[in-house]
Amino acid sequence: MLTGCSKGGSDAGDNKKQDEQNAQRQQASIKFGDAADSTGPAPAVPGAKNGGSMEVLQRDSYAHLDPAQIYVNDEMTVAQLIHRGLTGYKATSNDGKQHEVVGDLATDSGTTTDGGKTWKYTLKDGIKFADGTPITSKDVRQTFERLFAPFINQGPTYIQQWLADTTGTGYRKLLPDGPYKGKHLPDSVLSTPDDKTIVFHFQKPHPDLPYALAMAGYSVVSAKGDTKEKYDKKPVTSGPYKIQSFKSGKSMVLVKNPDWDPKTDPIRHQYVDRFNITFNQQFEASTKALLADSGPDRTGISWNNQVDAGNLSEVLRDPKLKSRVVSGYQPYVGQMNINMSKPEMKDIRVRQAIAYALPVTPFVRAYGGTDAMEVAGGLISPTVSGYDPKFDPYGKKKKPAGDPAKAHALLKAAGKLNMKLTFGYINTPEGQQYSTAMAAGLKKAGFDVQRQEIPAETFYDQVSKLNNTYDIFHTAWGADWPSASTVLPPLYDGRQIADGAANYSQVNDPHVNSEIDRINTITDPVKSAAEWEKLDKYLLTKVINEVPTAYYKQTQIAGSKVGGLVYDDVIGGVDPRRLYIK
């Protein structure tokens, strides 16, 4: 009888070895490449062959194809194949762990003479859009000016803010209608002296510009082909592949772009003739199809679907699948924010009590156990420069279910036993599950926890309101580029506190603020990584405005005829550019 009995346990292993692996994982810091590094073609993938078509099983259809609207992972992945920007990440090893930032459309990763205030880029020769028109500095100007138009509201805003020298959305005042009503950015901000040259002028030093420009959101847009809102469904592409057809919610076909010249591109390859993308493939479905490995699925892959929770442990433990399976970290770190604007939270002993009491097991549990989540020590993810695997300020790696006794003592010392603690949680099944268990853990330490649900799709907007009512709430933050400069400053710069800003905990610590300013001017990315790590430790031991919970992991699988399968730490998933058919 199969119904009555279930065998018990989900086979989810506990990876005790994880720490050791991470210790070995010395995140090599990324350097900014010069002209030689930026010259195409990209170094060949060992064993790669040309031809064939690949089936791509994806869950979510692409809502945006206009580069300026791209900020979610799936779209950023496909953008690697169809869009090009001024810079990009070049893999310098074949395992997806080592990268450098090089010039993509530009001849190098950018030159600055004044510590990051002025950046100069020169376009390569022979670069063209898929419609055959050459890419000029006019297109680049259009690319950046249209970011200020009202209809662009989904993409990253770093460079806009840097250009306008503001925070928040104040940058739109710089060019309220974008380039569409005849106005342009003045040369003092963005100058294009000739067809090949682009110069960015910032008020403050921004040594991270080469990283920022590598984001898919800053890929080039054709000035001639700019159809404003409609560009989102039918963009003019520039990468090695172009869109042959796109049926939203159903399918997309990518074919080779003959106007793409490999000699201009140090990053991408064009091995596969054709990608047939099918949407609405849930994780279980894609995993099952790829596991079965028959028919067209032998050349099948999913760029963004993970192995579903149900198959995960089996997939990870089957030695026969080793060559078809890749795992890695996503750039996200989960963290419990302590709302520093609340008077009750001013007492560090209360914050310590929260930090010690909080069980992180519920979070790990809710998302599938230790195969999918790893108990976190610090705020910097293993994919970001500056990660220290040994750092564990609250002993969460030893006592993931929390230390209620210690927390209780701290709370008692603060005279705040049974204080009310409002816990805003995201209203998803997982959120409901882990928040109730976390609340139970905090209750044991002597908190009167009040859980408040927040609708999933507006969760971040609610918790980023300055006058929100939550004492604690759980968020996750992913680095936009592999530097802690996209983690610590947006999250903990006290001067960034504003409605809608990412400083969710509303922490405003003078030391943190001044350190951010100091480290931000360091132009050597290797040196700055070490400084960020120090700041991370300061935050978690002296300020205690956050409790890190978990690092997000994922595992992906491909068919047996898929070659060049690599988990790329920067992309945070399979690298689509290196794929070929065996």
Partner: protein, 326 residues
């Protein structure tokens, strides 16, 4: 007949009109702002205000409703995403797709699910019900009646996950249900929907068994059935002509109601099996506060109910000569 149709259609339109107002008002009671949804990762009050303006949410509710009605009837070119021919429900806040084409996209899933299940439960349910009535009082009847009683008390949210757990997750005998287009691959269309069909139709079949049995038994006690027997017509002739004809009225009534509400979205079934039909779309539109989509689904579902009400009433005229439509 024509006058009947015209009158009923006018009635239906009035109801739809009121329903759209209720939905509109209801939506404005939602404690969520659709602008937040479109605002992305870098959201702030300015961009929200901007999105409000683009969506027309800064206009008074009455004006917004008027625009909605106007677009519905006449279509609109005012949308940033592109033209929107009548019936125009606008573009989804969430996916930016045309609501009407999204509905039409999802419809085949729901229609496949509903009609497939309807065939199953009509054949099995009515068959069993007739058999039980024919052999009333025997062991067959008692078994069928007791079985139908228990099965009709089952819930999709129990046997659906149970079927998934046993057939898909434990034994791996079946793939997880999915919708594949019939025109693309009829076989995978069939295999993908077989579990939902069986689960959905099991419960309905039991209900139809009960209904058909009791309707037939009631009819068999009618005097005109006795008259037919008294004039020498065989038991089967009387059963299938006289009694069956009379039983059709309650059966058709319930079937019309069931079909209408299922075609508007078999919410729990689609949710359980992850089928991308109208029901799932409805749930999504609620969770994403997607007003255009919500209005679209709501009015579509109500239209289905109303259309099938009219169809049922019109069918009466064919079944029962006493009914004259006017």
């Amino acid at each position: 007949m024509l006058r009947f149709l015209v009158r009923r259609i006018i009635g239906a339109v009035v109801i739809l009109f009121l329903l759209s107002i209720v939905t509109f008002v209801l939506f404005f009671g939602v404690p969520r702002d659709p602008a937040l949804l479109m605002c992305g990762k870098t959201c702030n009050p300015d961009s929200i205000a901007n999105i409000h303006h683009v969506l027309g949410l800064d206009k008074p509710i009455t004006e917004q409703y008027w625009i909605f009605l106007h677009n519905l009837v006449a279509g609109s070119d005012q949308f940033a995403q592109g033209p929107c021919p009548a019936p125009c429900f606008g573009y989804s806040y969430h996916t930016n797709d045309l609501v009407w084409s999204t509905l039409m996209d999802r419809l085949p899933t729901t229609v496949s699910l509903t009609l497939g299940a309807a065939v199953c439960f009509l054949v099995v349910g009515l068959g069993t019900g007739l058999l039980a009535a024919w052999r009333r009082g025997t062991l067959v009847d008692k078994t069928a009646t007791a079985g139908a009683m228990v099965i009709s008390s089952l819930q999709i949210y129990f046997i659906g996950p149970l079927a998934l757990a046993i057939l898909v997750y434990q034994t791996h005998w079946f793939d997880k249900p999915a919708y594949n287009e019939f025109t693309g691959d009829p076989l995978s269309w069939f295999t993908g929907l077989i579990i939902p069909w069986v689960v959905l139709s099991t419960i309905f079949a039991a209900q139809y068994t009960r209904m058909a049995r009791s309707a037939m038994i009631e009819q068999l006690q009618e005097e005109h059935v006795r008259t037919a027997r008294a004039k020498g017509m065989s038991r089967s002739y009387v059963f299938f002509r006289y009694a069956w004809r009379g039983s059709l009225i309650p059966i058709v009534t319930i079937f019309g109601i069931d079909l209408g509400s299922l075609l508007g979205g078999a919410i729990i079934t689609e949710y359980t099996f992850g089928l991308p039909g109208l029901g799932q779309l409805a749930v999504q539109s609620v969770f994403f506060s997607d007003l255009p989509l919500l209005l679209g689904v709501m009015l579509f579902a109500a239209t289905m109910i109303l259309v099938f009400n009219i169809v049922v009433d019109a069918t009466y005229a064919f079944i029962d000569p006493r009914v004259r439509l006017s």
